[in-house]
C-alpha cells in the first residue's frame, strides 16, 4: 500500500507547517512573545515534534492500519466513535477556518469587490480534485513546487535587509517575558503538532522506520522559514506595529523595491505561498475524509472527499460573518482547536501502553 516516499513526507510537512504560520500567525505570535518570538518558535517546534513522536509510536505498533481502524480495540467502541466524530468535526471546522482566512486574504488584497463565494468556488474545486485524488497525489504534488516555495519564502526577507533597524537586534536577547514566551510556544506547538496527522496516512508511507528523521527535518525547515520571516518583520516594523498588522509578512513583501521591473513583487511571491495553503486545506480535509472512511469500516475515501470539501467551503463562507469575527476567533481559540485533535493520538498511546502493561501477553498476541 505504501507509495508515499520519505522525501515527499519531508517536503509536504515543511510546506504544511510554515504556510499559515507565516501567513496568519506572525502577528499573534509577536503580540504574545514580542522579541522572544525565536524562543517560542524553537520551544513550540520541539513540543510539536514530541507530540508527533507519540503519534508515530502509536502508528508503528499497527503500521498497516490507521487510527480509525484500530482505535476501537484500544479504548473501546463507546469512547472511540464519539472521539473520532469530534476529531473529524474539529478538522472540518479548522479547514473551514483556514479556508476563510485564505479567501479573506485574497479578496482584501488582490480581488476587491469579488464575492467570497466566487473565490471559494474556484479554490474549492482545486482542493476537491486534490482531495479526491487521494493522499499519494497530494503528497506527490507537494514535491512539485517545494524548492520554489521555500526559495520564495526565504528570499523576501533578504530584499529588505538594508532597511531593517539593526539597533533593535539586542532586544532579541535582553527582552524576557515568560508568560508571553509560553503563550507563543502554545501557538507554535499547535501548528507544529499537526504532523501527528501521519497517524491517518501511515499505511500509505514507505520506509516508516525513518519517518521521524523526515519529520524532524521538516520541523527544522519550517522553523527556519518562520524565523526568517518573523525576525526581519520585527526588525522592520518593531513588535508593536507587527502585532497590529493583519498580514505583516505581506507588508514586508510590499516594502521590497527591487528596481522598476520588479516594482511590486507580491503577486509573484504570493503564488508559491498560496500553493502551501492549498496543501494545508487539502490535508485537513483529507484527514477528516480518511478518518471517517476507516471509522465507518470502509476502504475507499474517494466517496466522502467531494462532499466534505464542499462542506468545508460552504462553512468557510457562512460560519464566520465578517473578517472581524475571523480575527477574534484566531486570537481567542484557534490555537486550541488546532491543538486538540493532535493530542488524541497521545491519549490512545497512553491507554495502549497501560493496557499492554496490564496484559503483556495479550498485546504480544496482537
Amino acid at each position: 500500500m505504501g507509495r508515499i516516499t520519505q522525501l515527499q513526507v519531508y517536503m509536504l510537512f515543511s510546506q504544511f507547517l510554515y504556510s499559515t504560520a507565516i501567513g496568519f500567525f506572525v502577528s499573534h505570535l509577536v503580540r504574545q512573545a514580542r522579541f522572544m518570538v525565536w524562543v517560542s518558535v524553537l520551544l513550540g517546534a520541539a513540543i510539536g515534534l514530541l507530540i508527533t513522536y507519540f503519534a508515530y509510536r502509536l502508528s508503528i505498533r499497527r503500521p498497516d492500519q490507521t487510527l480509525g481502524q484500530y482505535g476501537s480495540q484500544i479504548v473501546g467502541r463507546w469512547v472511540h466513535y464519539p472521539l473520532m466524530a469530534a476529531v473529524i468535526a474539529v478538522n472540518l471546522y479548522a479547514a473551514a477556518f483556514i479556508t476563510r482566512q485564505v479567501i479573506d486574504f485574497i479578496v482584501i488584497n488582490f480581488l476587491p469587490d469579488t464575492p467570497h463565494w466566487a473565490v471559494a468556488l474556484l479554490f474549492g474545486f482545486c482542493v476537491a480534485r486534490g482531495v479526491r485524488s487521494g493522499p499519494v497525489t497530494v503528497f506527490r504534488s507537494a514535491q512539485g513546487l517545494f524548492l520554489l516555495s521555500v526559495a520564495a519564502t526565504l528570499t523576501f526577507p533578504l530584499f529588505i535587509s538594508n532597511q531593517i533597524d539593526t539597533d533593535m537586534a539586542i532586544a532579541f536577547i535582553t527582552w524576557f517575558e515568560p508568560a508571553g514566551i509560553w503563550n507563543g510556544t502554545v501557538i507554535v506547538a499547535a501548528i507544529f503538532s499537526e504532523m501527528a496527522f501521519i497517524i491517518y496516512f501511515f499505511p500509505y508511507i514507505t520506509k516508516r522506520k525513518s519517518m521521524m528523521k523526515s519529520l524532524s527535518w521538516a520541523t527544522v525547515t519550517a522553523a527556519l522559514v518562520v524565523l526568517m520571516n518573523a525576525i526581519p518583520t520585527i526588525m522592520l516594523f518593531g513588535p508593536e506595529l507587527t502585532a497590529n498588522l493583519t498580514y505583516p509578512t505581506l507588508e514586508v513583501i510590499r516594502f521590497i523595491r527591487a528596481g522598476t521591473f520588479l516594482e511590486n513583487l507580491d503577486p509573484l511571491l504570493i503564488i508559491f505561498w498560496l500553493f502551501t495553503t492549498f496543501l494545508k486545506i487539502a490535508i485537513f480535509t483529507l484527514t477528516a475524509s480518511i478518518a471517517l472512511t476507516h471509522t465507518m469500516k470502509m476502504d475507499n475515501s474517494k466517496s466522502f472527499s467531494s462532499m466534505l470539501t464542499a462542506a468545508v467551503f460552504v462553512f468557510s463562507i457562512y460560519l464566520f460573518p465578517t473578517a472581524a469575527h475571523v480575527e477574534r476567533i484566531a486570537v481567542e481559540s484557534e490555537a486550541t482547536f488546532l491543538l486538540l485533535p493532535n493530542i488524541v493520538p497521545v491519549m490512545y498511546l497512553t491507554v495502549d501502553w497501560l493496557r499492554s502493561l496490564a496484559k503483556p501477553s495479550a498485546h504480544k498476541a496482537q
Binding site: 508568560a179 471517517l292 470502509m298 460573518p321 481567542e332
Partner: protein, 75 residues
Amino acid sequence: MIGIAAIFLLIGYMEWAYLRRERKSKRTVRIVIGLDVMLIICSEAVYFTRNADVTAGMILNALFTPIQRLLFVGT
C-alpha cells in the same frame, strides 16, 4: 440556499453513480448518501443562521475559548 442544495445533490448523484459503477455494497451507498443528506442539513442550517446574533462559528468559538484561557498565561 438553492445553490448549496444543488451542489450537494449533484455531488450525491455523482457519488451514487460512481458507487454503482464500482459495484459497492448497499451499506456503502447508504452511508455515503446519508452523509450527503446530513451535510445538506448542516450547510443549510449554517446558511440560515449566518446573520443571527450567535452563529454556529461563534458557538464553537465559545466552546474553545475557555480551554485556550486555561492553556495561556495572563490572558
